[in-house]
Structure formats: structure tokens, C-alpha cells
Amino acid sequence: MFLLKFALLNLTRNKRRSAITVLAVGIGLAALIFLWAFMDGSHEEQRENVTRLFTGHVQIHAAGFAKKMSAELVIPNRPEVLEKIKSNPRVVSLAPRSKCEALIGTTAQSKGIVLTGIDLDAEPLVTDIKKQVKEGEFLSGGEGKEILIGHVLAEKLEVGLGDKVVLMTQAMDGTLAGFAYRVKGVIHSGALPLDEYSAFISLASSQELLGIDSDIHEIAVRLRSRAEIEGFKKDMQTVLPSDSYEMLAWNEIVPEVDQWASYSNAIIQTMLIAVMAVIAVGVMNTILMSIFERTKEIGVMMALGTGPRQVVSMIFFETLVLEFIGIILGIGLAYLLVFHFQRVGILMTGFEDAFAESFMSPVVHPHLAFHRVLTSVKTLVLITSFISLYPAWRAAKMEPVKAIYHS
């Protein structure tokens, strides 16, 4: 208690200097925690968007389908597999799909796309494709051949609602299959893979086009949360043996999202160390100045019997007190900022296109994870404590006589 009181008293000698140092620690820490919350928020949004927009949490295919995307690679024992997945308690909903590479064209233009046949009732329970139809309507499932295309694709093909496009693909028997479809709706998802390279028709229509009867290529599964993915995959291992089936989590289908998150985290970690080192040097400077001003007093303390270890402890304690107050301030400030921007969001005006390509919406809602706070604080304490050993060592090495007669 005496050391704590003594450290606090020493720090109040030059209140302005101590306050500036505490502010530097607090603002630096708050800025880093907020930056981390901002990045985590955007990554979280990216992940949610990817699973919500079209992947679901897990996709199940026949073994090898993801690489080849061949029409003949349909899911074996479809009814039994669907039943088994449905009965898993982690599953919220599932959507059967067909999928193939196709050429979409008009008389003037053509483009390669991924064509997905979707179950019109099940799909909206797994993804938000229906909600992304901002022009026209979602597929009706009637007799007419209807198609949904992205708005970028529509612009490139120079087609609009009600216009006719032709789809051509290789059917299951290897023949070239093709039908004409009318554009029923245009998708504005904000994600380029959907807006430019995808088209959707009803599952029944795609099964007819590909000649696969009632077979399917893909089961998109929505779980209670992303955290359930590993558990679900483990549950399904015996039901879906890997020689016949493949189970892909959303981040195996779109690995760029997690790769980007890892890259951003590495950058923040580097920044964290750099900023913390700058803060630590500031703290060290404060402590050095404080020691310099108290040279005579430290000499007297040593004369009275304060040993080198006690001097080190005293200086170290002063650093810890400065850090502690700064950390409390920093965490408080960071929580306030995150809390505020979580509610109002941060509009990234001017970055909309770049964000769209990365499945991000231009409004970021920061997300503060406790382990980020802990990492930032641990790094700060570690670096600052390490750097503060230098002034503490210098003080402990003082010769009492020289220190007492220091002017």
C-alpha cells in the first residue's frame, strides 16, 4: 500500500506531465481497440453477407463437384441425405440446388456465368437472394421460363426486365442444352460475384435443362450460427462419407474473406506493436524526467537504506500506475466510441465499389471482442513495463553520495 501511495504521490508532483502521459496511453489504446473493433465489425459483416447472400453456412455436394462442377456429379441418395441433414438439431434450414457453368447471351452479347437452380420456397430460408431482387420480381415457379440476373450482367448484356436471354450448358448426358428465358428480376446485391457472374432459375427448370430429373448438385445449409459449423461437419462425417460427399464450410467456398481478415489482423498487430512502442517511449520519458527531478531525493532515500531493488520497484510501480490509469481511460474511451458507432454505423463514402467487391456494405458497425481488448492491454503492459526497466535500472544504479549532492 505504501508503494502504491508513494507512486501516486510521485505522479502528482507534475500533474500536467502525468496527465499528458496518461492521455497518450489512453488515446493510443482507445484508437487501437477502436481500429480493431472497426476491422472486426467489417469482417463480421463480410462473413455474414457471404453466408446470407448465397453460400449458406455449409454446402454439401457429391465428392469432387466443387472442382469440376459437372452435371453428372449429383448428390447420391438425395432423399435420405436431405432427411439426415434436416434432423440434425444444429440445422435451421436447407435449400437443394442444381449448379452448372453456362453461357448466357443475347443476339449481340454473351457471357460465362454460374447458373444455379433454386428451390423457390426453401432458398429464402437459407439465403437472401430473394431480398436482393430490387427490380422486377422473384421467380414465380410458373410454367414460363424465368431467370434472375445481376444488374451488372444485365448492363453488359444490355437487357432489362422481360427481355429474353438464352442459356446454354452441357447437360448430364454430355449434349449441349439450351433454352430461352425471360428476365423476371434483376439482383442488386452489392457483391460482384452475384451481380455480374451469376444467374438463377427455378430448380425444376434447371433440372429440365440439365436432364438430371429430380436430382440436385448442392444442399446449402443454414445453421443456428457460424460457430456450429465444425460441430455440424463432425456430426455428418458418418452420414456423408468423404469418398462420396464433400462438405464445404462457407470459408472454404470463399476463402478470400478469411484471408483478408488474417491479413488485416496482421497489419493491426504490427501497428499495435509500433503504437505501443511509441506510447512506451513516452511513458519512459515521463519517468526519466521524474527521476531526474528527484535525483537528490532518491539519493536521500538510498542513504536512509532504500536498496536498489526497492528503487526499481518504486519506479516500476509508478510506471504501472501511469499505465493502469491510461488503460482504464483507453478502454472506457474505446467502449464509448464502439458503442456509439455500433448504433449509428460508419458510412464509408467513396469506398462503396471496393466494399461491394469484398461482400461488404458501405456502412460499418464496429464489433468489440474482449480478447482484442485483452491483447491490446497485454501488449501495452508488456512493452511499457519492459521499456520502463531502463529508467528504473538507471535510478537503482545511482550512487547515493552523487545523488544527494546533485543540484
Binding site: 508513494f6 538510498m302 542513504a303 536512509l304 532504500t306 536498496g307 536498489p308 531493488r309 526497492q310 544527494i404
Partner: protein
């Protein structure tokens, strides 16, 4: 057995790379209970000698024995332990710790020794009453007079009942009356409790109060080796 034994001690300071001979071949013994004044003009080496006796510094040559233990070659940590247990200092300009209260200043050495708070409180209170500063315990040094500050410094020096108390020009910053009162008080402690007291002074009145006077000049003892 002498409490302090100085054998052939010399001290050389290096000032701007030039060696300055502060003490030359000093031999002196101090017995327990002595009230000894070290006097001489400025630069005669009395403060340097007291610093060596007080384990604040180490000699360039020779040996310093305290209670038959050679202390001149000990590491700083061990010297600090000896100072903490066996020596009390009263400095010329009091050197109280400004952020601590009078009570905390008096208790400082006891805190270093790891004494409990209740024992510290009990001892500091009793001592402060004796020194006539009992009502000032919660004040800071800047809030009391210089005479009172010196009394606090005295209380701090004796609270742990050291073997030896060292004072460096301890009345130089006090008016004559206050200085004389302080010396009488310390003399009383010396008589009643047998405390060994060594002090440097060039004030003839302070010298008169000593039971032994060691005169120094140019880093040598010229009189009163004992």
C-alpha cells in the same frame, strides 16, 4: 572494540578527468556512545569522511570497519541494508521527502524494514511527541518551519534506534537559537540512550558541545584521532 575503525583510508574523486585527493591516509576510531564533532574548513574532507563512515561511499584505498565488519568493499545492496539497520542520517538541508507527510517521513525507515503499520504509527507518534512535533504529523514538510523540519529529520534518523547517527552541518540552515536547541536535544539523546553521534561542523559553538573534536585540514586529520 571500536564501533567505527578507519584504517589508512584515502579518497580520490575524478572531477572532469582530473583526480582530486579528498582524503589521505586517514586513521581514526570511534567508540560507542561518543559525541564527536568533525571540524575544519570547507574542503577539508569532513563530509567525505562521514560519508565513508556512513556507508554512503567507498574509499579509494584503505578499510572502513563498522562493528568489526569491513564495509568498504560491500555491494550497494548490502550497504543499503547496513544503512537501514545501523545508521541514521541528518542532512544539512533536512532532505525530507516533500510528497510524504511528517508522519510518513518519520516512519520511512521502519517501512523499509518491513515493520507493521500499527508499530510504525505507535513509534512515530511517541517520537513526534518527544520532539514537540506531535501536532504536525499530518502536514507536509512545506507546511512546517525549518526548525520543525530539522526535528522531523532527527526523528527520522533515530526512529529505528541506529548504532550511529551522522549529521552533516545540521545546524547550518537554522538560526542560532534553533540550532542550539537542536544540539542540546541530540546531546540529551546521546546521554540518555547512549547513541553514538558524529557530526561535521565549522561552527565553534557546535564544536563546544562535542565530547570529542576531530580537526581536519586538506584531507588529513590534524588533531583528535583518539
Amino acid at each position: 572494540m571500536a564501533l567505527v575503525k578507519i584504517e589508512g583510508v584515502s579518497k580520490v574523486f575524478k572531477e572532469a578527468s582530473l583526480p582530486v585527493q579528498a582524503l589521505t591516509s586517514i586513521h581514526v576510531e570511534i567508540q560507542k556512545g561518543e559525541f564527536t564533532a568533525f571540524c575544519g574548513p570547507s574542503g577539508s574532507g569532513k563530509t567525505t569522511l562521514l560519508n565513508l563512515i556512513g556507508c554512503l561511499d567507498r574509499p579509494s584505498e584503505g578499510k572502513v570497519h563498522l562493528e568489526n565488519e569491513e564495509v568498504s568493499s560491500l555491494a550497494q545492496g548490502k550497504l543499503a541494508t547496513i544503512r537501514r539497520r545501523k545508521i541514521g542520517f541528518i542532512f544539512q538541508d533536512f532532505n525530507l521527502i516533500p510528497t510524504l507527510t511528517v508522519r510518513e517521513n518519520i516512519e520511512y525507515v521502519l517501512w523499509l524494514q518491513g515493520e507493521t503499520e500499527s508499530l510504525r504509527r505507535q513509534k512515530s507518534k511517541a517520537l513526534a511527541e518527544r520532539f514537540g512535533i506531535g501536532k504536525l504529523l499530518s502536514r507536509r514538510p512545506a507546511q512546517i518551519s525549518r526548525g520543525q523540519q530539522q526535528r522531523v529529520a532527527c526523528a527520522r534518523a533515530i526512529i529505528h534506534k541506529p548504532l550511529l547517527i551522522i549529521g552533516d552541518e545540521l545546524t547550518a540552515n537554522l538560526d542560532h537559537k534553533t540550532g542550539a536547541e537542536l544540539m542540546d536535544f541530540i546531546k540529551k539523546l546521546n546521554r540518555e540512550e547512549g547513541l553514538t553521534f558524529l557530526y561535521a561542523t565549522h561552527d565553534p559553538i557546535m564544536m563546544e558541545r562535542a565530547s570529542r573534536v576531530v580537526r581536519m585540514q586538506d584531507g588529513r586529520i590534524i588533531d583528535g584521532k583518539g
